[in-house]
């Protein structure tokens, strides 16, 4: 295979049921990049393929992890502005500056039912004393010139 015109660079893993060391040496001498004795573990095979072919595998568990949209994802300024009227946003911002916990929760109760998702998110943030994430998206855009 190694003598084929395009076979020189293809990674080759020798797979054999024999675990003897001379087989391993023989395989390497014949041009294999690595050697896998049977029975092998799935993880070892994938690790070897990954290493020799430069492939990275994405596993389903990893893919399911954040950052995906969900209750843990930060709220954007656009989401806040779409959900709450400007006056309420200003009052929330001022209450957050004062760290007025009770007032913040009371203000969130004033929001309409259509904003329930955003309100639930903000309530969670406030209950964890994370006023900063509210402050960073509620600050009025027009700052003094």
């Amino acid at each position: 295979m190694r003598s084929l015109p395009r076979g020189a660079e293809t990674p080759i893993v020798a797979v054999t049921a024999s675990a003897f060391e001379e087989n391993r040496r023989g395989a390497i001498e014949a041009g294999a990049d690595d050697f896998l004795g049977k029975p092998f573990r799935e993880a070892d095979l994938f690790e070897m393929i990954g290493r020799l072919a430069g492939v990275r595998f994405f596993y389903a568990e990893e893919m399911a992890m954040p950052p995906a949209a969900g209750p843990g994802a930060p709220l954007s300024r656009e989401q806040l502005e779409a959900a709450l009227p400007a006056t309420l946003r200003t009052r929330l911002h001022e209450a957050a500056i004062r760290a007025d916990y009770t007032e913040l929760l009371a203000l969130l109760d004033e929001a309409g039912p259509e904003a329930s998702e955003v309100v639930a998110h903000l309530r969670d943030r406030v209950e964890h004393f994370d006023y900063q994430s509210l402050l960073s998206i509620s600050e009025p855009e027009i700052v003094k010139a």
């Binding site: 500056i97 004062r98 760290a99 007025d100 916990y101 004393f129 006023y131």
Partner: protein
């Protein structure tokens, strides 16, 4: 209808601690005692909250990342809006706490963790009372100063008037001769 005078607003206490569980516990207990509590998780937000609305008292954790309690207290004392707010430090027994430094930066008292809530409550109540007396005294002082200034002004007015009357009484004599 209720004709008793309206109850004074609940004392406003700013509680600063970077450990969420401590903040929950302390602010929950103080709220139960009828205080208005503003819990804050770090020094920067504490300074912002204190300066935008000075509280009646601050409970301040010492060991915090970024801005520690000593630094927060020193900055509060440098700002005239918050300079007179009593600061009580809180620190765990196993953490290093420099009591001399705590008083040096303007702290009035300190509480060591783990604490009995009764102790915190008693110290908070005592310092709030002291603070109230101090504010009363300052108010009375400034009222006295105002009254004093008013009296001086009236006295001056009376002297001017007397002077004028004396002067006017002399004038007819000058006119006729």
């Amino acid at each position: 209808m209720n004709d008793r005078p309206p109850a004074p607003p609940a004392p406003d206490i700013l509680v600063v601690d970077d450990t969420e569980a401590n903040l929950q516990l302390l602010s929950g207990m103080l709220r139960e005692r009828g205080y208005k509590v503003r819990p804050v998780p770090n020094g920067r937000l504490a300074l912002q909250a204190a300066k935008s609305a000075p509280p009646d008292l601050i409970l301040l954790d010492i060991n915090m990342p970024d801005l520690d309690g000593y630094e927060v207290c020193a900055q509060l004392k440098r700002d005239e809006r918050t300079a007179s707010v009593p600061v009580l430090f809180i620190s765990a027994l196993n953490e290093t706490m420099d009591k001399v430094l705590a008083f040096g930066v303007g702290g009035l008292d300190y509480i060591t963790k783990p604490f009995q809530f009764e102790e915190v409550d008693a110290r908070v109540a005592a310092h709030l009372k002291l603070r109230r007396l101090q504010v009363d005294l300052e108010e009375r002082n400034s009222e006295l100063r105002r009254t004093n200034a008013e009296l001086r002004r009236l006295q001056e007015l009376r002297d001017n008037l007397t002077h004028m009357i004396v002067h006017d009484l002399r004038l007819p004599w000058l006119g006729c001769c």
